[in-house]
């Protein structure tokens, strides 16, 4: 048994690598982009607001799986082609940017307008107000929702199988089919649980760090 598990590990680790790449690159891009989307959506530029609302509506209103398929299999029809990995990554970034954008928008909107006024009378520019006063308060407000979204992302990475990328779940499924064994699937589950456990602990620590004020 132990031997069998050890034999499976290399394939799973290479699957895990893809999973973690999609996961971390998605976060790396979609969190800053989400902040920009939130700021744009809250701006007074009507056309920009409309474009962002449309984008968010499409991204939240259609399955991520469809978005991945659309980019990898659909766009080549009109002459735009991507490799498997970039195609999947673009879909993930676009999708998660929309969700983070909405979370951040809610966080920013919930900050009292008196904070902006206090900053203004003290001479802060809009950018200084956002970076020094609004953003730090927003982070604390959105942390629980962001934690939720990040954990969903871990599990969503399994969707990249559709473009033929060998992520964690796919490596388990291949081994399970080949060996007619449940063990690989259980191992995949354990890997996901371990990942989400680490993330849960990480977010608990961050929330604690932000607990110094109310």
């Amino acid at each position: 048994m132990i031997e069998y598990i050890l034999k499976l590990i290399p394939a799973m680790l290479s699957g895990l690598e893809i999973t973690l790449s999609i996961f971390s690159l998605t976060l790396l891009f979609s969190i800053p982009l989400g902040i920009l989307v939130a700021v744009g959506r809250l701006s007074k530029l009507k056309p920009l607001v409309k474009v962002i609302e449309f984008y968010i509506w499409v991204m939240r209103g259609t399955p991520l799986l469809l978005q991945i398929i659309f980019i990898y299999f659909g766009l080549p029809i009109i002459g735009i082609t991507f490799e498997r990995f970039p195609a999947a990554l673009i879909a993930f970034i676009l999708n998660y940017t929309a969700y983070f954008g909405e979370i951040f928008r809610g966080g920013i909107a919930s900050i009292d307008k008196g904070q902006y006024e206090a900053a203004k009378v003290l001479g802060f520019t809009s950018a200084q107000t956002f970076i020094r006063i609004i953003l730090p308060q927003m982070i604390k407000i959105v942390l629980p929702s962001v934690a939720n979204e990040v954990i969903t992302l871990v599990k969503d990475t399994a969707l990249v199988y559709v473009v033929g990328l060998g992520e964690l779940l796919r490596s388990g499924k291949i081994a399970s089919n080949r060996d007619a064994s449940l063990v690989p699937l259980v191992m995949v589950g354990v890997f996901y649980l371990a990942l989400t456990w680490v993330l849960t602990k990480l977010f608990q620590r961050i929330e604690k760090r932000y607990a110094y004020y109310q």
């Binding site: 904070q115 006024e117 203004k120 009378v121 003290l122 001479g123 020094r132 004020y213 109310q214």
Partner: protein
């Protein structure tokens, strides 16, 4: 003269909230603007602090023009660089204080001097500590706003507003969020600031407080100044029936 306001007009959605308001504030003077809710008194303060733009009128802070009346057109405002210099001369204490909750008391006070006006941190801290000592808050330097009482928060807000040595201090309803027994404390603080030469502009509907602290009183109704005078003139020789009713309650 520290502050001069002339012909100030402001409408919100067609409703005129300020009608040709004008007054002046001098060094060391405590001027109370009183009147019912909705009489336009807070809007005056917001215009002076450029939180709302007036439609017409002139506001001059210590000789620098914040906005200038243009007859039939909207008032012209100072350019951003000038505006920043005007901001330095104005201090504002909000009714709900609006302290930054994620910053300690000290950080709240030195934030603007250090990050907006480029004052060296040690210098800004020294000034902040002196202000905190004056306001009897020296043991609260590293506390966060949520750990403070209403009166302490207000004093931090005053310290923050004083950090850049303003010439004019605006206070919006300073007694509204305080327990009655704390009124005397804030009155003493305001007097202390005025003794240092600061002009104090006070918005309140608390008659007893105005009577206690003000040198001069302006009474507003429906966006207009309907009575102006020294405290004695105002409280002891009121002739206008409406004001009498308001003052006596």
């Amino acid at each position: 003269m520290l502050l001069k306001v002339e012909g100030l007009c402001k409408s919100f959605k067609g409703k005129q909230v300020l009608k040709n308001v004008g007054f002046a504030l001098h060094c060391g003077e405590i001027l109370a603007i009183i009147g019912r809710s909705g009489s336009g008194k807070t809007t005056i303060l917001r215009c002076i602090n450029n939180l709302v733009k007036c439609d017409r009128g002139t506001i001059i802070v210590d000789g620098t023009v914040l906005c200038k009346d243009q007859q039939e057109e909207k008032s012209v405002y100072a350019k951003p660089a000038e505006m920043l210099q005007i901001r330095k001369k104005l201090g504002m204490v909000f009714q709900s204080f609006n302290l930054f909750p994620h910053m300690s008391v000290l950080e709240n006070i030195i934030e603007a001097p250090v990050h907006v006006f480029g004052i060296a941190r040690p210098e800004a801290e020294e000034k902040a500590n002196a202000l905190l000592a004056m306001l009897d808050l020296q043991d609260k330097t590293s506390a966060y706003p949520f750990e403070l009482s209403g009166g302490q928060k207000q004093r931090v807000a005053i310290a923050r507003a004083c950090a850049l040595n303003p010439l004019v201090m605006c206070l919006d309803e300073p007694t509204s969020a305080l327990d009655p027994e704390l009124r005397e404390g804030i009155a003493v603080t305001i007097e202390k600031l005025a003794e240092q030469g600061m002009g104090i502009l006070l918005i309140t509907h608390d008659m007893a407080f105005a009577k206690r602290v003000a040198h001069r009183v302006i009474f507003m109704e429906a966006g207009q100044i309907i009575e102006e005078g020294s405290k004695e003139e105002f409280f002891d020789h009121v002739e206008n029936e409406k004001i009498k009713k308001f003052v006596i309650g």
